[in-house]
C-alpha cells in the first residue's frame, strides 16, 4: 500500500510546482526569513555568531506561511469536485492524508534549506555552535510540519480555501502564542501555576525552543510527532465522514 502514499505524494508535490504557489511561497520565505533576522532580529548588532535572530522569528513566519501551504489540501479537492475522483481510487485515507502532508512538508523543508546561506555566513563570521543550529533547524522543520498538519485538518472542514487559511492561521497563532513569555507571565500572575504550566506545555514555541538550545528532548519530539499524527488522523476522519453523506 506504500505505492498509494507515493502516488499521492508525487501528485501533490508536482501540483505545488505546477502552479505559482510553491514559487511564491519559497520566494516569500527566502526573503522574509533573512529580512526578519537582519532588520528585526538585528543579526549583526548581537555580535554573536549564531542564528538566534532568525530562529526567533521563524515561528511567526510559520503562523502565516504554513497555513497558506496547507489550505488547499482538502478544500481545493472539495471545491473542484476532484475529491470524488480521489475517493473512488483504491487509496487508504492514511495514504491520502500522509501523501498530502509529506508533499507540503517537503516544500517547507526546501524553504528552510533556502536559509542555509545564513548558516554558512555565521560560520564565516565566527565559530557558532553548529550542533545547536542543526537541532534548531530540526525543531523548525518539526514545528512547520505540525502547523501544516493542523492546517490540513482544518482544510478538511471546508470547501473554501480562504476559510481554511484563516482557520489555520488562527490555530497556528494560538499554538505559538500559548508559549509567548507575555502570555505565560500574565497567566502566572492570574491563574494557578498548574494551568500556566499546562498552557506552556501545549505551546509549540516551548518545544521548539528546546531544539534551539541544542537539545533533542523525547517529550519535545513526542509533542511534534504526536501533534502531526493526531491532526492527520482528524483530517482522515473528517474526509471519511464525507462518505456518510452528512449522516
Amino acid at each position: 500500500m506504500i505505492h498509494t502514499l507515493h502516488a499521492v505524494y508525487r501528485r501533490e508535490l508536482t501540483a505545488y510546482f505546477q502552479t505559482p504557489l510553491a514559487y511564491v511561497f519559497l520566494a516569500v520565505f527566502a526573503i522574509c526569513a533573512p529580512a526578519f533576522a537582519f532588520h528585526i532580529g538585528r543579526f549583526f548588532d548581537t555580535n554573536r555568531a549564531d542564528l538566534a535572530p532568525m530562529f526567533d522569528y521563524l515561528p511567526w513566519l510559520f503562523v502565516v506561511l504554513m497555513p497558506a501551504l496547507a489550505m488547499r489540501a482538502w478544500a481545493e479537492e472539495r471545491d473542484r469536485g476532484t475529491l470524488e475522483f480521489l475517493m473512488a481510487l483504491p487509496i487508504p485515507l492514511w495514504a491520502a492524508t500522509g501523501g498530502k502532508f509529506l508533499a507540503a512538508w517537503t516544500v517547507a523543508g526546501l524553504a528552510l534549506a533556502l536559509t542555509f546561506p545564513m548558516w554558512i555566513a555565521v560560520n564565516y563570521l565566527g565559530a557558532p555552535d553548529n550542533a545547536a543550529i542543526a537541532t534548531g533547524y530540526l525543531g523548525a522543520w518539526l514545528m512547520a510540519g505540525s502547523y501544516l498538519a493542523v492546517g490540513q485538518a482544518l482544510s478538511a472542514t471546508t470547501s473554501n480555501q480562504v476559510v481554511a487559511f484563516v482557520l489555520g492561521t488562527g490555530a497556528a497563532f494560538l499554538l505559538t502564542m500559548a508559549g509567548w513569555p507575555f502570555v505565560l507571565s500574565a497567566l502566572g500572575e492570574n491563574a494557578p501555576a498548574a494551568l500556566s504550566e499546562f498552557v506552556a506545555r501545549l505551546s509549540a514555541l516551548e518545544h521548539y525552543n528546546a531544539f534551539r538550545y541544542g537539545v533533542i528532548g523525547l517529550s519535545d519530539l513526542i509533542y511534534f510527532v504526536g501533534l502531526i499524527l493526531v491532526s492527520l488522523t482528524i483530517a482522515g476522519v473528517l474526509i471519511a465522514e464525507r462518505r456518510g453523506g452528512g449522516r
Binding site: H3, T4, H6, A7, V8, R10, R11, T14, A15, Q18, T19, R80, G81, T82, E84, F85, M87, A88, L89, P90, I91, P92, R243, G244, G245, G246, R247
Partner: protein, 245 residues
C-alpha cells in the same frame, strides 16, 4: 460482477435512494436512466465506494464496496458526474496518477497510459494542462483515467455530456468496443444512446427502480413505442405505463 442489493441512502429526512437492487454481468451495458434528482448519481457513488449506503449492500467482483472498499475499487473504473480533474495536470499526468495509485509502474504504466490516451482520442491535447482544455477534452481526460487500468466494471456518469456529435459517437463506439469484456453502467439524459449502446436499461425515479429490462422492452412501454415516450410514461405517469420494479 456487480450487485446492488436494496441500496438505501438518506440525506437528512430526504430518501434519495430507496431500495435499489440489480445485478450486472460481464458483457452487459446498462443504461441508468431517470430525471434529475432521481437518485442515479447517488446510487453510482455508493457503487463506487464514495458514499456509504444507509441500508443494503453493493459489491464488485464479489468484494463489498464498503467493507472491502480497496479490493472493490481496484476492479472499478469510475467517471464521476461532471468529470472532475485537476486543472494544472495534463491528461497524461492525470492518467499516470490514477495508474500509480493502482500500483502500476515502469513499462506497464507507460503502456497503459498510452493506450488509455489513444482510446479516449486525446491526441495532442494529452500534454496540455486540463484547465486549458475544452469541456469535451476534459471529459475525455477523465474517461481515459477511468479506463486506463482495464477494470472489470465501469461506472460512467453521463460520459457523453458536453461532447460534440462526433465525440459522442467516438465514446459510444469505445463503450461498444469494451462491452464484451466488462460490465458497464452509463447514466445518461440522452435517451437515443440507450438503444445505440445499451443491452439493458433501468429507469429510476424518486430513488426507486421503475423499470429493468432491455431497451426494446422499455420502448414497448411507451405509447408510441420509443424509449423517449416510455421514459415520460414511467417518470411522469403519461400514457398509463405501470411500474415494473
Amino acid at each position: 460482477m456487480l450487485v446492488a442489493d436494496q441500496l438505501i441512502k438518506d440525506f437528512g429526512s430526504f430518501r434519495a435512494v430507496d431500495g435499489v437492487s440489480f445485478t450486472l454481468e460481464r458483457g452487459e451495458v446498462l443504461g441508468f436512466l431517470g430525471p434529475n434528482g432521481a437518485g442515479k448519481t447517488t446510487s453510482m457513488r455508493m457503487l463506487a465506494g464514495g458514499l456509504e449506503p444507509d441500508g443494503g449492500t453493493a459489491s464488485i467482483a464479489g468484494y463489498d464496496c464498503m467493507t472491502q472498499r480497496l479490493e472493490a475499487q481496484s476492479r472499478l473504473g469510475y467517471l464521476p458526474e461532471g468529470a472532475p480533474a485537476y486543472p494544472a495536470m495534463t491528461p497524461r499526468g492525470f492518467v499516470i496518477f490514477g495508474l500509480r495509485a493502482r500500483g502500476f509502474s515502469g513499462g506497464a504504466l507507460m503502456r497503459a497510459t498510452g493506450l488509455a490516451l489513444e482510446r479516449a482520442v486525446l491526441g495532442e491535447m494529452a500534454d496540455q494542462p486540463i484547465g486549458t482544455l475544452s469541456k469535451g477534452y476534459k471529459r475525455r481526460a477523465a474517461l481515459a483515467a477511468a479506463i486506463a487500468h482495464d477494470p472489470a466494471v465501469l461506472i460512467l456518469d453521463e460520459p457523453t455530456d458536453g461532447l460534440d456529435p462526433n465525440q459522442k459517437d467516438g465514446v459510444r463506439q469505445l463503450i461498444r468496443d469494451m462491452a464484451p469484456e466488462k460490465a458497464i453502467i452509463i447514466s445518461t439524459h440522452i435517451l437515443e444512446e440507450v438503444p445505440a449502446v445499451c443491452s439493458r436499461a433501468i429507469v429510476i425515479d424518486k430513488g426507486r427502480v421503475l423499470f429493468d429490462g432491455t431497451p426494446h422492452a422499455l420502448a414497448a412501454k411507451g405509447p408510441d413505442s420509443t424509449v423517449e415516450s416510455a421514459f415520460r410514461a414511467l417518470t411522469q405517469g403519461v400514457g398509463g405505463a405501470e411500474a415494473v420494479a
